[in-house]
Symmetry: C2
Subunit: 358 residues, 2 copies
């Protein structure tokens, strides 16, 4: 158990978790280091933010590699790990941001940071008073928005179609399945283990969920998708994709948002033979639309698209139509272990680190 | 030289070229057999068609495999090879089709066939009086329409963007490059050999064309695409795709219409290692849209979409804005060698077999 520092402590000190070494394969605790320093002072036009909750996400593994994923620069050795946060404005020299307000921010893995306000989304404007602020890191934030953009904007499932998503109890997958159901589609999940599959069906409302560790996984997926697969929301790659490809229906849409199976090394999850010709043959013969997307592209002018998404999603959560599950890691210093556990698939729902009391 | 049969002979006899054996790798002449039989008689509601020109196309290799490409059944052993034709109605018991008219048909590799009219597009309705009827198998037909659908409907190049197409002097590629130029994009071709590359630039008007046999092919392609690649019209796979992937710009569109590199066997053109994870990583990081399509899907209600395309393309050809090159193979019995040569890349432009005089 990691003690939460007292207010006096956090006021005196900024703790940062920096990248100490570049992992080979799965990250280890020794790849991270804690550094402490003074709390920075806002210049004119800046605010000082205190981190309340930190988001942990699979993409962070990519940013630990020497060559980043292209859409964002890698974290330099010795630099603070990056990440989305719910933060409180604790001091302001910015004309529009007052102390006390909550914002969606990019403070990274640390207690305090400065911002000029350009990357902040105010959260206390009355849109979500009854829900925990940390949901803005999950169902109401980047992972929920990723599900929304990939499924609804790009794949556009029609009523009665079959939508498959892996990591079905993860921060993105759980929302994909629930949004698919809300739009009249059949949702078939894939998850690692019987407990997760039960959760997907009983709590999240998936029509079926298949354990990817089952020896007859491919056959069971085929049985659960007797009418074929119309939308495959790709976030894992590897063996799940192998089982999905033969089941794709003509005209299938495959939004591509990530590859957890490959994040710990480019060749992990690779076959001994070249599967690219077979993939392209499927794309051609089934007229598949494979569409990569980075949710950052879709934040739009001053978060306007995100803002509209948040309003819809907030209503669905309040109405009980979307279940927003969180796995809370207690304390900033537990973030490294939290990311290691997340990448190993040990969490249910969205993983957030509680850094300070809201 | 294959003598053209006299009118008396063709009236008496139907020659069919049938699939004699399933090729392993490149087809050989022994995979085909000529059979003769009586000219069939049209039943009520049918027409008798005489083949004037037969289209040869790479997809025919796929139909020779025991398991077809999915969008069309494979040719059975002993059955007539299938193919698009320009045919003349020589006898009619159909209310709407009169003897003497020309139609775009699917007569296959034979002199005569029957049709109930449902798969015929009349050609003599005044839309293309000044152009050779066989162009309806090339720039005005399936290959031209494939270029049109893939490039203009799916990829939608914007002025100033860079479009890359392989098999640049082939029936589809030549149209892709010329249509790209017509829409203000830069067209960079890839072709096998210096002669083809010269033809692409000097006759077809490509901005550049790179010889895929050059030892420094990838570097030369990169130099020709200094602003990156916005559209890659995929019709070959293999090494060209390897060179293209690192050059794709964010938001690139990749319509997928075929894989000549893989047609003689699923693993031909495959790498020793699995390139699927790398392809998917590129799709994700560059937000690529990879879109398989089968042009048959786009013929639309009673060929309406094809009809509109033909009107536009006919005007461009007449105005000299699109150059429609044909490689004419003389005589039905030369069709097998014609397909073998086509697959080996020995032809410039669209390959058609002249079966009878128009």
């Amino acid at each position: 158990m990691n003690p939460t520092p007292s207010d006096a402590q956090v006021a005196a000190l900024n703790r940062r978790i920096v990248l100490a070494a570049r992992p080979e394969g799965a990250p280890r605790l020794s790849d991270f280091r804690v550094e402490t320093g003074p709390v920075p002072e806002p210049a004119h036009g800046e605010v000082l933010l205190q981190t309340l909750a930190l988001s942990l996400d699979p993409y962070m593994r990519n940013l630990m590699d020497p060559v980043g994923p292209g859409y964002a620069p890698p974290v330099a050795l010795g630099e603070t790990m990056v990440g989305g946060t719910v933060s409180r404005v604790v001091a302001s020299r910015h004309p529009d941001l007052r102390p006390g307000g909550l914002v969606l921010a990019n403070a990274g893995w640390q207690d305090f940071t400065l911002s000029d306000g350009s990357d902040l989304l105010p959260l206390d404007s009355g849109s979500a008073p009854a829900l925990p602020p940390s949901l803005s890191l999950g169902a109401l934030g980047m992972p929920g928005f990723t599900a929304h953009v990939g499924l609804l904007d790009l794949a556009q499932p029609r009523p009665g179609e079959t939508v498959v998503v892996a990591a079905a109890t993860g921060a993105v997958g759980a929302n994909v399945g629930q949004l698919a159901r809300l739009h009249g589609a059949r949702a078939v999940g894939v998850a690692g283990g019987a407990d997760k599959c039960r959760h997907a069906v009983q709590v999240l409302g998936f029509d079926a969920c298949i354990d990817r560790h089952a020896p007859d996984f491919a056959q069971r997926l085929a049985q659960a998708c007797a009418q074929g697969i119309d939308v495959y929301f790709e976030n894992v790659g590897g063996a799940v994709l192998d089982a999905v490809l033969p089941l794709l229906n003509p005209g299938a849409r495959v939004p591509v948002c990530g590859f957890i199976a490959h994040y710990n090394g480019p060749m992990e999850g690779a076959s001994a033979t070249d599967q690219r010709p077979a993939l392209l043959a499927t794309v051609l013969q089934k007229r598949v639309r494979l569409q990569g997307f980075i949710v950052l592209d879709h934040y739009g002018e001053r978060f306007e698209h995100l803002r509209r998404f948040r309003e819809r999603m907030h209503r669905w959560i309040e109405e009980g139509r979307v279940h927003a599950q969180e796995h809370v890691v207690d304390g900033l210093l537990q973030a490294p272990q939290g990311l290691i556990d997340l990448l190993a698939g040990r969490h249910l729902g969205k993983t957030v680190v509680r850094v300070a009391e809201a």
